[in-house]
């Protein structure tokens, strides 16, 4: 077995590390749930159950209701119970394998439907105007997000929707307007859902355009175009490829055309990501203590007790021994960084069906990873310079506390807090990563932050390496 793998196994499988990892993973789940509450995001904004459809009001005073129920991945949900309430009665039905339901009720200007599946509930008005207020989850206009509308000048058709906060492509018209003949939503992972009450040829184009450009052929560049032939009350569930540069989407049909801004990230993503990093901050406050302890247990203590001597009598140089141990602990820190980012994402999937991209997880993991590697490197440096394991442990902890508390205080007092946070403290690259993932403007010099972050890891590591090679073990 390669010694580095064995050292990694021994460092990773330590009871203390495993317990803390389990705690942090569980904490990650808990915090993910709390993110939704902290941010006050209503369940209807993310609940994994969506409803849309049409009410067609006949001149004879009957409402024919045709709807679809699908999840946040844009997949139909069969077996959903639909309870339609109207003046003087309630009518029930369930959805088909395509997520379809339809029924007819007597006309009532307060008709509404309650959609229930696996403990989830959504309410939706069937007739437009004010939404019926019934007990259960929030019913409101959050459902309008992610819908593309094509208006038609008839007034006996009502489009009704109540869906989660995915791509905000709305804005063309009021979804409760009685003029929309088509429902289009782009759900998680670019899963497209379309539903119409009459035959339509629809072209969906993704554009890269300057802001406020609304004409397809003016200054926008068409990056991808999809054409659909839609049949009445026949839902389309498909996955589309959205070019990463696309910032506008154009809808063109034989009835209507128009453009709307397109965001690469679902609205839900934007809403939760800020809370996500706030929650992550709690991990970052505690996890460095774990790597400082790891460096103590795997390097400082065996050096102090003399256990490294017997290893050094094997075919290995001092430099290799140092790097082998450091690498093993670094792998532990890297895996831990991924785990504490993956666990909240699993929770987001469970809560809202929201899949964050591998790129998000990778970048978000770099934040704890760089911090942990910094304190691992610093503690290894102390262990090389000082033989006492206890002193090394104390110095590692003291350094962390000083850097995390004292330096920002100095920043406040000197008026250079931003400068210090952006470029001086360890893992300052997290500022740029966080801004990028939050979609906010990055006002820092990313190159400098990266350099500072790398130096915090590399400089102590090199000092420790050279000292360990030079000094008697």
């Amino acid at each position: 077995m390669r010694p580095v793998l064995y050292d990694f196994k021994r460092s990773f499988l330590r009871l203390s590390v495993l317990l803390l990892l389990v705690l942090f993973i569980l904490g990650g789940f808990g915090l993910s749930y709390s993110v939704f509450h902290i941010l006050g995001i209503n369940p209807s904004a993310y609940e994994n159950l969506n409803v849309a459809g049409f009410s067609i009001i006949s001149p004879l005073g009957t409402i024919h209701v045709y709807g679809i129920v699908f999840n946040n991945m844009g997949q139909p949900v069969s077996g959903t119970t639909i309870c339609v309430h109207y003046s003087g009665g309630v009518m029930n039905t369930t959805t088909s394998s395509e997520g379809l339901f339809n029924l007819s009720i007597p006309y009532s200007n307060s008709s509404y439907a309650i959609v229930k599946y696996d403990g989830m509930v959504r309410n939706v008005s069937l007739i437009g105007g004010s939404v019926a207020l019934v007990s259960g989850p929030y019913v409101g206009n959050v459902g309008i997000n992610g819908i593309i509308h094509v208006a038609k000048g008839i007034n006996n058709v009502v489009l009704f929707t109540n869906i989660s906060m995915f791509n905000d492509l709305g804005g063309l018209s009021n979804p409760y307007s009685p003029y929309d003949p088509i429902f289009i939503a782009i759900m998680n992972h670019n899963h497209l859902v379309m539903f119409t009450y009459e035959s339509l040829n629809v072209s969906l184009s993704f554009l890269q355009a300057n802001s406020n450009v609304l004409a397809v052929n003016s200054s926008g560049v068409v990056l991808k175009e999809y054409n659909f032939s839609l049949k009445p009350f026949t839902p389309v569930y498909t996955t589309i490829e959205v070019p990463s540069e696309a910032n506008y989407v154009s809808i063109l049909s034989n009835l209507y055309s128009g453009n709307t801004p397109y965001s690469q990230s679902p609205i839900l993503y934007t809403e939760i990501v800020t809370g996500y990093f706030s929650a992550m901050g709690l991990f970052l406050d505690f996890f460095p203590f774990v790597v400082i302890y790891l460096a103590y247990a795997m390097f400082a203590k065996p050096r102090d007790t003399g256990a490294l001597e017997f290893i050094l009598a094997r075919p290995i140089t001092k430099g290799e021994l140092y790097m082998t141990r450091f690498s093993a602990n670094a792998i532990t820190a890297i895996i831990a960084s991924f785990l504490i980012n993956i666990s909240p994402n699993v929770a987001f999937i469970l809560i809202a069906g929201l899949y964050l991209s591998p790129q998000f997880i990778l970048l978000a993991s770099i934040i704890p990873m760089t911090l942990l590697l910094t304190y691992l490197s610093i503690t290894y440096m102390y262990a090389s310079l000082i033989k006492s394991g206890g002193t090394t442990l104390g110095l590692g902890i003291a350094t962390y506390i000083i850097i995390q508390i004292a330096i920002p205080v100095i920043g406040f007092m000197s008026g250079n807090y931003t400068l210090i946070e952006d470029y001086i403290v360890p893992a300052s690259i997290s500022q740029a990563i966080q801004s990028y993932l939050e979609g906010s403007t990055i006002s820092v010099n990313v190159g400098l932050e990266l350099l500072s972050t790398i130096l915090w890891i590399v400089v102590p590591l090199v000092i420790g390496y050279l000292a360990f090679k030079r000094k008697d073990i």
């Binding site: 017997f310 009598a313 140089t317 008697d472 073990i473």
Partner: protein, 299 residues
């Protein structure tokens, strides 16, 4: 073969080793004797590459421990006086880990580990944590690890310290077996009577300096008495018969006295091994006398 070439080692401003030079040839057991703090352990730690000398070098089968550490380390085994490991590890796991430094795969190491644990008398204790091992077991474990690469050179540092008679006998027999196999063995000890029985040559070290290197024949010539005392674990008539080939035996209880000893003590020990040699020494003048004469500069 181990060649120590002018090693000088400082700890701060204190000179622990001063231009130490000697050699251990293949098929030879060399006693490395000196008082506590004389520099024996420092010299051995330097020879195995744990300490870096300020000057000088040690050549293990021609490979420099300073410049070719990895190659040299493959050819030398080391059993420290007080072996220190990462005590929370399980013995066989730690063996597999250390075998990794020799480029041995996990499966091979497990197989080799079981074989060597049996050879060194640790069979059945493979899954135990090292912290549960006694001092003697730790030394046996260090030996098993040292045998991973089947090196031709061995360094035993005060290996008899803290061992029971069985442990002492095990390491003494092992050294003799290794000598027969043509290995070079450096055997440090301050229990001079123990070394005397098995070594071919003695390196005297005092205050970090090599005072004298003498063969056992030279030492024997200096020792006036030629009677040998052997304390055995068990005796029968064969013991006397064996001893007759070395002089005039006289058995008293478990103690065998051989008057007018004429032969090689290591051969005698080897022949008496089945009876458990608990102690063997020359009566009258012995290595200890020679040692103090060397220290006093009388030799």
């Amino acid at each position: 073969m181990i060649v120590v070439e002018g090693i000088t080692k400082y700890f701060g401003s204190r000179k622990a080793l001063d231009n130490v030079s000697f050699e251990v040839k293949d098929g030879e057991i060399v006693g490395f004797v000196g008082l506590n703090g004389a520099g024996k352990t420092t010299a051995i730690r330097t020879i195995v590459g744990v300490l870096k000398p300020n000057s000088g070098d040690a050549l293990i089968d021609g490979k420099s421990i300073v410049k070719e550490k990895k190659e040299a380390s493959k050819n030398v085994g080391w059993v420290p006086e007080l072996p220190i490991f990462e005590m929370d590890a399980r013995a066989l796991d730690y063996f597999v880990y250390l075998a990794g430094y020799y480029g041995i795969s996990k499966d091979e190491a497990l197989k080799l580990g079981k074989q060597l644990f049996e050879e060194v008398g640790l069979s059945g204790r493979e899954r135990d944590k090292l912290k549960t091992y006694s001092q003697g077991m730790k030394k046996r474990f260090a030996l098993a690890v040292s045998l991973i690469s089947n090196p031709k050179n061995f360094l035993f540092d005060e290996v008899f310290n803290g061992l029971d008679p069985q442990g002492i006998q095990f390491f003494r027999d092992l050294a003799l077996k290794m000598k027969k196999e043509g290995r070079a063995i450096l055997f440090s000890s301050h229990i001079l009577t123990e070394v005397e029985a098995i070594v071919d040559k003695v390196v005297f070290i005092h205050q970090g300096k090599i005072l004298k290197v003498m063969s056992m024949n030279e030492i024997r010539n200096l020792i006036k008495s030629n009677d040998v005392k052997v304390v055995l674990n068990q005796v029968n008539e064969n013991v006397v018969q064996i001893a007759q080939a070395f002089g005039k035996p006289e058995l008293s209880g478990n103690t065998l006295l051989i008057h007018d000893f004429n032969g090689d003590m290591s051969v005698l020990v080897s022949k008496l091994t089945p009876y458990g040699v608990l102690e063997i020494s020359r009566l009258g003048g012995n290595l200890e006398e020679v040692f103090f004469k060397v220290i006093r500069g009388e030799l």
